[in-house]
């Protein structure tokens, strides 16, 4: 992921240094990692396929082979899983589409704000980063309480200033999405802002000087100096945010519990339900592969877009 970001090309290692050390020493160095990598990455990736070809319940002695049935079910309307699976995929999609722009743009604004020199800068930077350190469980519990439609303090104060005091933040569409996206932004914006900040400080001030000499205004400076200078950071932020959003689980698990109906139950939550609550592990494994394939396609498309922009 970060290869594109490396500011320097790695120096070509000299053959002299490479040749020494031979094969087995290298493998000795890699052994500890390879054991874990093999056991918990390679093995499960393959084993998962095997599981997905069975009606697999780890507690039952018989685990019938079903071939591609688990995959077929996901694509045949009218099967037990079809509508719920695609509803959960939709939930993941909606959340990703709504949250990624917010998590790319708002932290950038905040970074620009914090990039000036003023007393207490470090303090403010810390404040915005703080929620991220607390973790999703604390954030989820807190949001669930202050956003409760009937007893939550947010609705109470909204009522106080003359707005609606009955907004169903945690129970009804479209508000649940506002809540989930808003809480996620509140929780993780500090993370992206910090990365942007570092990127901003890596832009040579001379460029701004030069732009000013050419009579560029604030907006033009931003367009022609800041944005191009942030390109590698932007790629990083967009990709990591995209993946993080597609992996959303804790927020909806704690705040909305999937309501209304199952509208905010994400694909991951459904996979976990199917595999670890209903113990239909074969079907859940099949879902994981389908979702992973989707994400791969989306990531490739995003990469493409950035590539094309670069070429343009």
């Amino acid at each position: 992921m970060a290869t594109t970001l490396s500011p320097r090309r790695a120096t070509r290692s000299t053959p002299a240094a490479r040749r020494r050390g031979g094969g087995w020493v290298a493998y000795l160095f890699m052994l500890p990692y390879l054991v874990i990598f093999g056991g918990f990455i390679v093995l499960p990736a393959v084993y998962g396929i095997w599981i997905s070809l069975h009606d697999y319940d780890f507690a039952l002695p018989v685990k019938p082979w079903v071939g591609l049935q688990n995959y077929q079910d996901l694509f045949s309307p009218g099967s037990r899983v079809y509508s719920e699976f695609w509803e959960s995929m939709r939930a993941t999609g909606i959340f990703t589409v709504l949250s990624v722009p917010c998590l790319v743009v708002i932290p950038l604004g905040l970074a620009l704000l914090l990039n000036r020199k003023f007393p207490g800068r470090t303090f403010f930077r810390a404040i915005f980063f703080l929620p991220y350190v607390l973790g999703v469980a604390v954030i989820g519990l807190l949001a669930r309480y202050i956003l409760d439609p009937n007893i939550g303090v947010v609705n109470y104060y909204l009522g106080k200033v003359g707005l609606s005091h009955t907004i169903p933040w945690t129970t009804d569409l479209p508000w649940v999405w506002v809540t989930l996206v808003g809480v996620t932004v509140w929780w993780t914006l500090g993370f992206n802002a910090v990365i942007y900040l570092a990127g901003l400080q890596d832009i040579p001030p001379e460029l701004y000087e030069a732009a000013r000499m050419d009579g560029a205004g604030k907006v033009q400076q931003f367009r022609h100096v800041t944005l191009p200078g942030l390109r590698p950071v932007l790629v990083f932020v967009v990709t990591t945010t995209l993946l993080a959003s597609a992996n959303m689980f804790g927020q909806s698990f704690l705040i909305t519990k999937g309501a209304p109906g199952n509208a905010t139950r994400t694909a991951i939550a459904y996979i976990a339900d199917e595999g670890l609550v209903s113990f239909r592990m074969g079907s859940a494994a099949a879902m994981s592969y389908v979702l992973a394939l989707f994400l791969l396609v989306v990531s490739l498309v995003v990469f493409r877009l950035f590539r094309e922009k670069e070429a343009a």
Partner: protein
């Protein structure tokens, strides 16, 4: 980061810096700036303050409308079920588990990844290309893909309901190796070659030359890995079950179920979970933030 700042001339300004544009009243824009920051601070600290205040309220005080800002009457009863060591919800215990698991995982990743990354960056061996391609390829596999099979693997290892389950499996991830390999490759060869001429073997070069040069990268990886592990939610809530073995995320989600509407207890749990995190954050704030910013830049 900050050092870079100081080497700049004081006249240079950041892109949005106002000092370069005396055209508009600096007073006005400064006020707007201060106001923006003030509102943002309220938005970020308000909910946390509310959490702490609620944790000292009575159950009815926490849900009454209109809400009172200060606990009235103030009570610590929300904390009782949590701080009692024999209770089903030992929050302190959970926090220690989280700390232990996060630290163990971070160390495990840093040790195994640095060894492997060094081999890939500096040695020639059969199958190097293929292996490296495979490792990098897994960077793009989302973690949930391993949820079901790893659950079964961990259950076969009899690791369910033990901290091993939240320490070891995630150390297979490729990020650490990838990150360190980039860093090692950027180190100049001369020092290592000089050591070789002096007759040092691979292990000595690695431990005495490469690792000391890599301190910033290693500490960055440690911090990032700790944060990732500490914030993980999906996996621990399924693989841990006994009250004594839970980590914070798993424990707090159980707390929400156990005390559904007893908000003082829930908020007390969240508060207890937050305090050490906040304290640690304040202490290690600078290095932590710098680690995060480095992850985006110098991959």
């Amino acid at each position: 980061m900050t050092t870079v700042q100081e080497t700049r001339t004081s006249r240079s300004t950041s892109p949005t810096g106002q000092s370069g544009s005396p055209a508009r009243g600096p007073w006005l824009s400064r006020t707007a700036f201060a106001l923006t920051l003030g509102v943002l601070t309220l938005v970020f600290l308000g909910p946390l303050a509310w959490m702490f205040l609620t944790s000292f309220k009575t159950q009815n005080g926490a849900t009454q409308l209109p809400p009172t800002l200060l606990p009235h009457p103030a009570t610590t009863s929300g904390y009782h079920p949590l701080l009692n060591t024999t209770s089903q919800t030992p929050v302190i215990h959970w926090f220690l588990n989280s700390l232990l698991a996060g630290a163990a995982n971070a160390v495990l990743v840093t040790v195994t990844a640095s060894l492997a990354a060094y081999a890939v960056a500096r040695m020639e061996f059969p199958g190097r290309r293929l292996l490296w391609g495979m490792v990098v390829g897994t960077l793009f596999i989302p973690p949930f893909l391993f949820l079901i099979p790893n659950y079964i693997i961990v259950s076969k290892l009899a690791w369910l309901d033990s901290l091993w389950a939240v320490i070891v499996p995630s150390a297979g991830g490729a990020f650490g190796v990838f990150f360190l390999r980039q860093f090692f490759s950027s180190l100049p060869h001369e020092l290592e070659e000089a050591a070789m001429i002096d007759g040092a073997n691979r292990w000595q070069i690695f431990t005495r030359v490469v690792l000391p040069l890599s301190r910033p990268a290693l500490s960055t990886l440690l911090v990032l890995q700790f944060l990732t592990n500490y914030n993980d939610f999906l996996w621990p809530i399924f693989v841990l079950f006994s009250p004594a073995h839970l980590t914070l995320p798993a424990g707090l989600s159980i707390l929400q179920g156990a005390f559904t509407i007893n908000y003082p207890v829930i908020m007390a749990g969240a508060a207890i979970a937050s305090i050490p995190a906040i304290v640690l954050f304040v202490i290690a704030q600078r290095s932590l933030v710098e680690s995060v910013s480095r992850s985006g830049l110098k991959g």
